[in-house]
Symmetry: C2
Subunit: 155 residues, 2 copies
DNA sequence: ATAATGCCTATAGTTACTATAGAGTCAAGG
DNA sequence: CCTTGACTCTATAGTAACTATAGGCATTAT
C-alpha cells in the first residue's frame, strides 16, 4: 500500500478539493467564516476534514446567492443542533423573497428593454433611433424618475 | 407675472428635478457622464435644460440596469446623429442577453432553494433540519463544486 | 447675530472577491 | 550546491455604483 495519507492538507489542496481559489479561502478566514487554522512551523495553514466540509457548506450557500453575513448566521445555527430550526427557515424564506424581488425587477427591466428594442428593428440614422428616443424619457410613461432614486448595483 | 425664471439651476434643484441625490450627480460628473458644469463665483455648479435631459437619459438607462460604461457609449452615439444606429441596437441586444442570463440563473437558484425549503416545512431541532443537511452538500447532486468557482456578487 | 440649509472637497465604506507586489519555503534537476 | 518552478505568506489596491462621513464656506431664515 502507498504511504498512509495524512489528514492535514495545505491551502492549495483544500482549494482544489472544494473548487475555490486559494485567495478566497484566506478571504473567508479574514471574514470569520473559517476559523484560523493551525500553522506548520514555516507558517503554512493546515486544514483537515471538518474544514473541507465547512468550506463546502459555505460554497453551497454562496452558490445559492446567500450573503456572507447570512452564511455566518447559518454556520452559527449549525453549531447549535439542539435549537429550533425556525430561524433557518426564516432566513431561507427571506432569501427566497429577495430572489423573487430581484426576479420581478429584472423581468420588468427586460420587458421594457425588449419593447424599446422593437422601436428600432432595422438600421438607420441615429437621429431617428427609436431606442434612444425611448431612453430620452419622452416615450417613457411608467418610468418617470419621480418614483425616486432606487439605485441598483450594476449587472 | 412673477419674476422671470432663470434657466440656471443649482445642483440641488437638478437633483430634485430628475429624482437623484446630489452626490450622485457629482459622481456622474467625476465618471465623465456629465460634463463639468459652469460655476458661480462662489464655486457652485450651475446647470441648465440640456443637463436635465442628459441626466434624465442617464437615469433611464440606469433604471434599465445598464452599466455606466454602456451609458457612456450611448451618450457618445447620441451625439453623432448622422451615424448608423446599428451600434445602439447591438448594445441593447447584448444588454438584453445579459438580463436573460441573470434571470435564468436567479430562477435556477430560487427553484433549488424552494426545493430545499420544502425539506423543513415545520419546526424541529436544528440537528434534523433538512435545509442545513441539503446545504451540506450530501443531498446536492447537481450542485457539486467541481463545476468550478464562478463567483457571483452578492444579491 | 445666529441657526439652519445648501454647497464644496476629500476620503472611506459597501460586497465578495480579484489582482498585484514582494518575499519566504520546498522538491527536483543539473 | 545552485537554480528553477511551484507553492506559500502578507499587505495593498482595484472592481461597480454609489453612500456615508468629516470639515468647511455661502446663503437664507429667524
Amino acid at each position: 500500500m502507498g504511504k498512509a495519507r495524512n489528514d492535514l492538507i495545505k491551502i492549495g489542496e483544500l482549494a482544489q478539493l472544494v473548487g475555490v481559489q486559494v485567495v478566497t479561502i484566506r478571504y473567508y478566514e479574514k471574514e470569520g467564516l473559517l476559523d484560523k487554522p493551525q500553522r506548520t512551523p514555516n507558517g503554512y495553514r493546515t486544514y483537515r476534514r471538518g474544514d473541507v466540509e465547512r468550506l463546502r457548506f459555505i460554497r453551497h450557500c454562496r452558490d445559492h446567492g446567500m450573503a456572507i453575513e447570512d452564511i455566518k448566521t447559518l454556520l452559527k445555527l449549525r453549531e447549535a443542533p439542539e435549537r429550533d430550526c425556525m430561524e433557518v427557515n426564516t432566513l431561507v424564506d427571506e432569501h427566497i423573497k429577495k430572489l423573487e424581488e430581484q426576479l420581478a425587477s429584472l423581468q420588468a427591466l427586460k420587458s421594457r428593454l425588449v419593447e424599446l428594442r422593437g422601436k428600432c428593428p432595422h438600421s438607420g440614422a441615429i437621429a431617428n433611433c427609436g431606442i434612444l428616443r425611448g431612453l430620452d424619457g419622452a416615450h417613457c410613461r411608467a418610468w418617470r424618475a419621480e418614483e425616486g432614486p432606487k439605485n441598483q448595483p450594476a449587472p
